[in-house]
């Protein structure tokens, strides 16, 4: 199978050019005779022909492939982002190579290098640290669009959610119902989205008459399930009680918090009012009042690929786009 053009042409006693012209649909333009066309078509129908994209890439110096580097796929936000990115890329005629860094900065650098070696046309990155982001900006010679977060605050291109607004809206919504202070469990406050969500949270609290020093924020190191557990543990140790109203800065953090409660108490009190960043249908599983801020990953993906396309086409735009989030509330029926 998988004849090359060379094989086809020699089998049919035609020149490579002739075969290529009909294979590339330029038969009419060059007025290749019907007979020749048919001969070639028949042969291809019989034996098949799969173009060698590698050779094509070498010649044209483009691969029609883009790279996506995310921390992981177990965070549902990243997996749905990856899925949306893959869809958007394909609709623009690109393949997507998805890689995970597992939060390892060195790994992230190696992945970027490896994508460049493979000559992808452009790279999307959810950077793990400020340092890696700066490194990529400095060393890469491919178009880069950063996703989900921007540490750099320079003229690099990025598409992120409007996290301040998101934190503000979530907090306001919750406060309207519960009228009480809310605790914020923050995964990794080094991450700009977390920082901004906290800022939005505090801003909304203050606006609702809560003193800034009464806004409790618990910090952790990373955005993983384990840290959610530690955060809740820490709260319980310091307060000798569980928090009635809280917000989790990401789904993995929430997963950890709930897991810890389940272990600690044996159940999840359904009186808790819970706010969450990122939406997931499994939030339905909770019996509580629950508000979640859904990021619009389709929108993020489409904007990101549009920017990338511009860059590839040589327009040196350095676009920076904030995408609106949407609140989903699930309230108990009384």
């Amino acid at each position: 199978m998988a004849k090359t053009v060379e094989q086809i042409s020699s089998a049919l006693n035609l020149s490579i050019t002739t075969v290529r012209l009909v294979l590339n649909g330029q038969a009419e333009r060059y007025r290749i005779s019907q007979k020749t066309q048919k001969k070639i078509q028949d042969y291809v129908n019989k034996y098949g022909y799969t173009i060698n994209h590698i050779a094509r890439s070498l010649k044209l110096n483009k691969t029609e492939t883009l790279g996506l580097i995310v921390p992981n796929l177990s965070n549902p936000f990243f997996s749905s982002l990856a899925e949306s990115m893959e869809l958007s890329c394909r609709s623009k005629g690109y393949r997507l190579m998805i890689c995970c860094t597992h939060n390892d900065p060195e790994h992230e650098k190696k992945l970027l290098a490896s994508l460049e070696e493979r000559n992808v046309d452009g790279i999307f990155v959810v950077p793990v640290t400020e340092e890696t982001q700066m490194y990529h900006i400095k060393t890469s010679n491919k178009p880069i669009v950063f996703l989900d977060r921007d540490f750099a605050q320079n003229d690099s291109s990025w598409v992120v959610s409007d996290n301040f607004e998101s934190g503000y809206a979530l907090t306001s919504s919750m406060f309207k119902l519960i009228q009480k202070p809310i605790v914020f469990f923050a995964g990794a406050p080094i991450l700009p989205p977390v920082k901004e969500r906290i800022a939005g949270f505090i801003s909304a609290m203050v606006e609702n008459g809560i003193d800034k020093k009464d806004c409790e924020v618990f910090y952790s190191q990373t955005d993983l399930v384990n840290d959610g557990e530690l955060l809740m543990k820490e709260y319980i140790e310091t307060h000798n009680d569980i928090p009635q109203n809280f917000i989790a800065s990401s789904l993995p953090i929430l997963e950890g918090i709930i897991s810890f409660l389940r272990q600690h108490l044996g159940y999840i009190p359904d009186s808790l009012n819970i706010g969450a960043f990122d939406e997931h249908i499994m939030l339905n599983f909770l019996a509580n009042n629950i508000w979640s801020m859904k990021q619009n990953d389709k929108d993020i993906a489409e904007n990101a690929i549009a920017i990338m396309n511009n860059k590839i086409l040589g327009e040196k735009s350095s676009d920076q786009i904030k995408i609106k989030t949407e609140i989903i509330s699930r309230l108990k029926k009384k």
Copy 2:
């Protein structure tokens, strides 16, 4: 940046071969002078060098890249499978290209063709239908390892979970506690895993003295959230009641079931006993007794890549491996 070997050699007035030898770590073998080596090293340190993997691939006819085709990434099982696959591949020196079919057979065929055009060294597929699986087997000229399901029942290579045993174990475990008939909500019974899980379920029920005709199985078309909702709707319409004890054939189906209950009743009765295929930490969110069968995606990934490696090395093994699953039970404290 990104000098090519050609550029380096002409800049330093050395031959291409010389530069290449030191870049490929063969300097000692060919006794390149220290001075020359240093000159090259310094230059590369200063200007950088990223090998053109595309050109290399064209010459060597291998890309060190594998393809993975899954239905989607929103099903947490597939996203964690993809993550594990990516890890395993990388540990063996391969890149992984992840693509989603969104359950579209034609799409699946196109993706496979496109991976072949890109000359990947091998392809992992979670096939959507028997027809596509057969098609791949017949038309592909790359090594293929099927994952999660095998429709073909011939000598193709696959790695799947032991789904009969999985269904049997889950049902037995649940029955031990509840001693009552259990309802099975089946996503897409055309899928071999679902079929086998049902067979295991029935086998366990019968063994526990339940008459086979009292084993209720509700069927649907696909494995998506929407079908879970329809299944529960159908049950409620025919029984005028909700099922006390049930099993969902996949997480999306369970998500649909729970969502429907939440809409229909306004809450999830915590008396329900729930069995689920595939594990997810968010099952912690449910207040119910819940048993889940965890597939060992790391094991699946490692076996799959091992088989692939053999195939690539030319050993015509057609391995077929069933991976054990593990039960996770979360029982309410009394």
